[in-house]
Amino acid sequence: MDSLQSYLVIAAILFSMGIYGVITRKNAVAILMGIELILNSANINFIAFNRFGGMANLDGHVFSIFVIVLAAAEAAVALAIVINLFKNVGSVDVDDADLLKG
């Protein structure tokens, strides 16, 4: 189990689950959870490549730490936007946000 391949498979599964979540979910919070899955699958990739790829430096680890920080910032902003939408529209369902179209 301790090989690059198994980590890449896990990352690929998480990535696909994230995309599936974003595409099928109607709840804005669930969509954001799908996006978090995608970001974390990339994190697993970075760390696995750095650990098993024989890289000279720790670029992959550093990258994943930055991604974690950014994911938190993005989630904070996105949730604030969802709360604001809930106040005005009374729903967090993305189907109810249908004023702009054409």
Partner: protein, 488 residues
């Protein structure tokens, strides 16, 4: 260059960072609140002075994280000019609540800092960080009208599309890192020369293109554009349609030209030469401009129509991107610079109309030509330029792109598509001209006068379209100096 010695080449960015912090601090002190507006404008002016002074220098800063070179300087001037103008005009926009003006200006300057980094980053970590630094404040700016349902919806759509696209790009970057073993795009280029399976690079390449394509709103990653542009406050729409798009092109050009070319041309010795990315871009370009134009025709809302028209302009710029040569980069940069003036003046006119008449639909512009003849004449000039007809700078910009396409004798079909598209563009831009001049209004014939700042912004930006038609030589010379990076 080490971190400490890098700082002396990093003064424009440091000024902007200091100004952001000062604006946020002054905002909480009631007596100082009124100075935040002039402080932000002053900081941008000061940053441009320092930027102008350091033009021509070329350094890799912060241990190879970002690169200061004439190419990024050119884009930084576009960013400074557009941010300055947007901060100025936002003060005279009626929709925006002046209570939040300090936060608004601070967020705009954070985006400005992000775009500075975007145009100069040469490391995958910096590329991702800077794209997010531009995106996250933009989500907030799009939803700045807190009690407006359309603005809420625009920011929700923007945040979902934006973080999804950047997530896909991040996954692509992680695979690229795994294949090449480095995050520095120079080292990645070297590693790609000796790669065993060139096919494996397709997957990360396409995922990265999703991230960049979303930033420049290239079809099929454009779905957020019309909704966000319609719902966001008009100054923010104007800003998003120009500055982050230019930043997206800067990073697209830098990454593709560094990774997949040698000295600015596709070399046969490169194992990656069999990856025909110009063909991928050519198809994307044709679809982008056709879809943008066809959907623009049926729009009734002025902002939404300009959103689709901006998508089609991206298609035009991508057309030059299919040719791998420094001259093609020159054509894109020239077009971007012209596009800045055309688009900003068109959106400022929309701000004027919505301020004075509460006009959002094209019908609301009926008879405007009699009520403010001067501004409407300049608006007509802007629309001619957006179409790409002489005597305007838009014609010169399109001319350079077509010239590249014919010079390299590739993708003739793309030129045909582009010419047909110009005809469609003529139709919907002139719907506005028709509404302004040929349709009688609802009886009101009193003159409407714009606030001097709005008035002169429209006139100055629109007049550039004439100026650069007659006298574009200095601009092209300046751009040629800026791309010496690839032309050697």
């Amino acid at each position: 260059m080490s971190n400490l010695s890098s700082l002396s080449y990093y003064i424009p960015e440091l000024i902007i960072i200091l100004a952001i912090l000062l604006v946020i601090i002054l905002d909480v002190i009631p007596a100082c609140k009124k100075y935040t507006f002039s402080l932000s404008l002053g900081a941008i002016l000061l940053a441009s002075v320092f930027l102008w002074q350091s033009y021509g220098e070329s350094h890799g800063l912060f241990m190879g994280m970002i690169s200061i070179d004439p190419f990024s300087h050119f884009f930084k001037m576009i960013f400074l000019l557009s941010t300055f103008s947007i901060i100025l005009i936002s003060r005279y926009e009626k929709q925006l609540d002046s209570k939040y003006s300090a936060e608004y200006n601070a967020l705009l300057m954070i985006v400005l800092l992000g775009m500075f980094l975007m145009s100069s980053s040469i490391n995958l970590i910096m590329i991702y960080l800077s794209i997010e630094l531009v995106s996250i404040p933009s989500y907030i700016l799009a939803g700045m009208l807190k009690n407006d349902k359309e603005s809420n919806e625009a920011s929700l759509k923007y945040v979902i599309f934006g973080s999804f696209a950047s997530g896909l790009m991040l996954f692509g970057l992680s695979i690229l890192y795994g294949i090449t073993g480095s995050t520095d795009i120079g080292v990645i280029t070297a590693a790609l020369q000796t790669i065993d399976y060139p096919l494996s690079i397709y997957f990360p390449l396409i995922l990265i293109l999703v991230g960049f394509g979303y930033k420049i709103s290239m079809v099929p990653f454009h779905f957020w554009t019309p909704d966000v542009y319609e719902g966001a406050p008009t100054p923010i729409t104007a800003f998003l349609s120009v500055a982050p798009k230019a930043a997206g092109f800067a990073i697209l050009i830098r990454v593709f030209y560094t990774m997949f070319t040698i000295d600015g041309s596709v070399s046969a010795t490169l194992p990656l030469a069999n990856i025909n990315w110009p063909a991928i871009i050519a198809v994307a370009s044709a679809i982008t401009m056709t879809l943008g134009n066809l959907l623009a025709v049926q729009q009734e809302d002025v902002k939404r129509m300009l959103a689709y028209s901006s998508i089609s302009h991206v298609g035009f710029m991508l057309m030059a991107f299919t040719i791998v040569s420094p001259d093609a980069v020159r054509a894109i940069m020239f077009y971007l610079f012209i596009y800045l003036f055309m688009n900003l003046s068109a959106f400022y006119m929309a701000i004027f109309a919505s301020n004075k008449l509460n006009a959002h639909h094209i019908d609301d512009w009926d008879g405007l030509g009699k009520r403010n003849p001067i501004l409407c004449a300049f608006m007509a000039l802007t629309l001619i330029s957006l179409t790409g007809l002489p005597p305007t700078a838009g014609f010169v910009g399109k001319f350079y792109i077509f010239a590249e396409l014919f010079k390299h004798q590739q993708f003739y079909w793309l030129a045909v598509v582009a010419i047909l598209n110009s005809v469609v563009a003529l139709f919907y831009y002139f719907k506005i001209v028709k509404s302004m001049y040929l349709v009688e209004g609802d009886g009101a014939h009193d003159k409407i006068v714009a606030h001097p700042v709005v008035n002169w912004s429209i006139i100055l930006f629109s007049a550039q379209n004439l100026l650069f038609f007659i006298y574009w030589e200095p601009l092209i010379g300046f751009i040629e100096k800026s791309i010496s990076l690839w032309s050697g």
